[in-house]
């Protein structure tokens, strides 16, 4: 049953990709194909990163409402980049090779995520309410620090980070595609390799220990993967609050299973389909200027509220 559904999702994605590449093309193909191809690659990377990061995070948090975005992971990344511009000045910031800035921000991100969220996840008795509140508070803190710093920054310098802090799919910065692809594929491969362990971790702390795992170490590994994946996708398209929640919930609906060998590809396919298909539909077919992120966040936000309310009532 799952195999059939995964095949169907792949087929739909194939159609969406073809649409994205060829629809509304004006001009020479030799220009359009590489140009659109790079953006498509970036979209696919972002899609897989977000779905995988969300799934991994939900597995170790043992919760289907919390996501890295809701816990403030992407706000953290935007803050790190903003503070870097603030303290170094955009002149310096731009003088440093982009790759160095990128990798440094990534390293800071991983460290900060471990410090901030590690302690939260390593508690023996998980307390969802406290996790949520901490996430909301941290997210608000990161955002206010970011906006404080942006206000202090010279308007000319502000342009540098503006691109980092809003979700955007039609102007993707593909300069860093190579490095990002490498990092991202590495993290995705690592996630795929621990898929069986993730199944066991989902059983809970005590059951996982009984079966010979070390949940503490696993939580740290997963947190590092999540930090890398979120950083890469935020660097590309900026924060999209509810995409992860939306696509992972859909994956649980379409392929209900406790097995990450099914959930990981299923969520990745749905995520890619949402981004590529949505972008093709909005931009190329309907010719709307509504940003896709707005639509996704609208739908995802409604889902988030629905999940919260149904859980509260129980």
């Amino acid at each position: 049953m799952h195999a059939k559904r995964l095949a169907f999702l792949s087929l739909a994605l194939g159609v969406a990709i073809t649409g994205y590449m060829v629809l509304g093309a004006r001009g020479s193909w030799s220009f359009i194909l590489p140009f659109r191809g790079a953006k498509l690659a970036a979209l696919l990377l972002v899609a897989m990163s977000i779905s995988t990061a969300t799934l991994l995070f939900q597995t170790i948090a043992r919760n289907r409402i919390l996501t890295p975005s809701i816990m403030g992971f992407d706000a953290l990344y935007v803050m790190i980049v903003t503070l870097a511009v603030f303290f170094l000045g955009s002149r310096n910031f731009l003088a440093i090779p982009e790759l160095v800035t990128y990798l440094t921000a990534l390293a800071v991100m991983v460290l900060a995520a471990l410090l901030l969220f590690g302690t939260l996840l390593l508690q023996t008795r998980e307390d969802i309410m406290r996790m949520m509140l901490t996430g909301v508070i941290l997210g608000a803190l990161f955002r206010s620090l970011t906006s404080f710093a942006t206000r202090m920054i010279d308007p000319n310098e502000y342009a540098v980070i503006q691109v980092a802090s809003y979700a955007r799919f039609n102007q993707i910065d593909t300069d860093l595609l190579g490095v990002s692809a490498l990092l991202c594929l590495g993290a995705l491969l690592a996630a795929w390799r621990i898929r069986h362990r993730l199944d066991v971790l989902a059983l809970g702390r005590e059951a996982a220990i009984n079966l010979g795992l070390n949940p503490r170490r696993a939580a740290i590994e997963v947190l590092i993967l999540v930090a890398v994946l979120v950083a890469v996708s935020t660097a590309f398209v900026g924060p999209i609050a509810f995409l992860g929640l939306l696509v992972v919930s859909l994956a649980h609906l379409v392929t209900p299973s406790g097995s990450h060998a099914i959930l990981l590809p299923s969520a990745a396919l749905i995520s890619a389909l949402t981004l590529v298909g949505g972008q093709t539909l909005l931009d190329r077919v309907l010719g709307l200027s509504t940003p896709l992120a707005v639509v996704i966040d609208f739908l995802g936000g409604i889902l988030f509220l629905a999940l919260l309310l149904t859980r509260m009532r129980r």
């Binding site: 023996t124 898929r195 069986h196 809970g204 005590e206 059951a207 220990i209 079966l211 010979g212 406790g258």
Partner: protein
């Protein structure tokens, strides 16, 4: 053999276990009894490395708790916690299959599948195999959890109040199964029981605990007495003997 030496454990300033030194012989059923809050679950959790040790030493055969590889121990010892968390969306068959994880690490072989099949049959779960856990009754769920531990097929099994939710037939069937595993396969079973009647009828050995200390230990017929019930449990129930069996007032 499980040997515990000078084990102490506490939360902040409150001592929970004080200087426990105990040997649980290999092969046989050992019942751990004692009043609520005596520290029974804490002791089992420490033996099964669910919580880090604070002081003292625990050995399971040649494996030292705290330093031995957790995967090695998972093939040697299993635990059923008193209040197991359950992943509600799994089916019974999926849950039981996890019992084989320590051996196959995600790629089950034919033998693993056969063991899962047997475990499902032993706990009479065939009809429920494809139901998800959150649709089961309390006792059915408990049997599914027991089947998973059974499929794990370890020399040592620590069971924290496994009779919770089980009816009299399932309780007796489980105790008989445990006896048989101990006698014919040399398994070592440590089981927390609140019903002393079950402990007296099925255990080879009883260990009593009270307020974090060990109480009298020994064979049921030697230690289950009115005095034990009074001293350890503070109750005036009487022990009666009938046809060579012990019966405790309820």
């Amino acid at each position: 053999m499980i040997s515990v030496s000078d084990l102490s454990y506490g939360y902040r300033d409150t001592p929970i276990l004080t200087d426990i030194t105990l040997e649980i012989p290999k092969g046989g059923v050992t019942a751990l009894i004692g009043p609520n809050g005596a520290g029974k679950s804490t002791l089992l959790s420490l033996i099964a490395r669910l919580m880090p040790l604070q002081s003292g030493r625990i050995m399971v055969d040649e494996l030292k708790i705290g330093t031995c590889a957790s995967t090695d121990l998972a093939q040697r010892l299993s635990i059923l916690p008193q209040v197991p968390e359950i992943a509600a969306r799994l089916t019974v068959a999926e849950l039981v299959a996890f019992g084989r994880y320590p051996y196959h690490k995600g790629r089950p072989g034919a033998e693993d599948l056969a063991q899962v099949e047997t475990a499902i049959e032993v706990f009479d779960l065939q009809a429920l195999a494809h139901r998800s856990l959150d649709t089961l009754s309390g006792g059915q769920r408990q049997r599914a959890l027991l089947a998973m531990i059974y499929a794990q097929d370890t020399d040592y099994m620590l069971l924290d109040e496994p009779l919770n939710n089980l009816d009299i037939a399932a309780s007796r069937a489980l105790m008989q199964l445990l006896r048989q595993m101990a006698e014919t396969h040399g398994r070592t079973i440590v089981i927390v029981l609140h019903d002393i009647n079950y402990a007296a009828a099925y255990a080879d050995h009883i260990v009593t605990m009270k307020e974090g200390h060990l109480g009298p230990c020994g064979a049921p017929r030697d230690i289950v007495t009115d005095a034990l019930l009074r001293d350890v449990f503070q109750t005036d129930a009487k022990v009666r003997r009938l046809d060579g069996k012990m019966l405790i007032d309820v």
